[in-house]
Amino acid sequence: MLVTELVLAVCAVIAVYAALRAVFEKNTARKLPFITVMNFAVAGVIVLILPHPLTLIAAAAYLVGATLEANAIASAMEKLRGEQT
């Protein structure tokens, strides 16, 4: 088995595991750490499938975009809580 395939399998399994953990976690804020793990694993998978400098930019853009979305969700929850109290 090639090293790349082994590494790809590790990342893919972790991505699926993290996605399932996020699905079964009921609390929205507590889902976010699992979503982060999934994003990291998917960014790794993107690069491993297509090793090219442009893919690196794509993976970085995906990771930053996903992080920004998590930031937006958490910030929105913060603001909602401020309005309710």
Binding site: V7, I14, L32, N71
Partner: protein
């Protein structure tokens, strides 16, 4: 001949120490550095976790930190060697600024990780792609198994360091 899983396990341990150490150095567990971190910290604390550990986990979720830097550095190093690591530093700096973060932890994490990966690849014979699996396993350990228990460990580490 060292089997590949041993390289992956060693990469996971090295990247875990690297990014947790840098995040502690840049004081991620000290306060909610980015908007939205407070929400995640509150929920982790409500679940029985630690406040400082919760802040660190929240900061990792809401903006690129040393762990994100290490991941993109690993990807960059595998694709393009040291120049790939430097490109990763530029990309992660832009990403941190987008998330309204100063980007110190992210950029220092990327540069230090690139240097460590170069050393491990050159002197210890690590296959470069094992670093990608290593950092993904490291982030799984910190964020994906039990944020409650890990936040307690991170909180203890932070109090011991500060």
């Amino acid at each position: 001949m060292i089997p590949e899983p041993a390289y992956i396990a060693a990469s996971a341990v090295i990247t875990l120490i690297l990014f947790v150490g840098l995040d502690l150095f840049w004081k991620l567990p000290a306060h909610a550095g980015v908007s939205g971190t407070e929400t995640i910290e509150r929920e982790i604390e409500a679940d029985g976790g630690d406040r400082c550990g919760g802040w660190m986990i929240g900061n990792i979720v809401t903006s690129p930190d040393a762990s994100a830097g290490t991941l993109i550095a690993a990807c960059g190093y595998w694709i393009w060697g040291v120049p790939g690591g430097l490109l990763a530093a530029v990309l992660i700096f832009i990403g941190a600024r987008i998330c309204a973060d100063k980007g110190y932890a992210a950029v220092s994490g990327t540069l230090l990780a690139t240097a460590v990966f170069w050393a491990l690849d050159t002197f210890a014979g690590f296959p470069p792609e094992t670093f990608i699996a290593g950092i993904v396993i490291a982030i799984l350990i910190v964020q994906g198994i039990s944020p409650k228990h890990i936040s307690r460990i991170l909180g203890k580490l932070w109090r011991r360091c500060s």
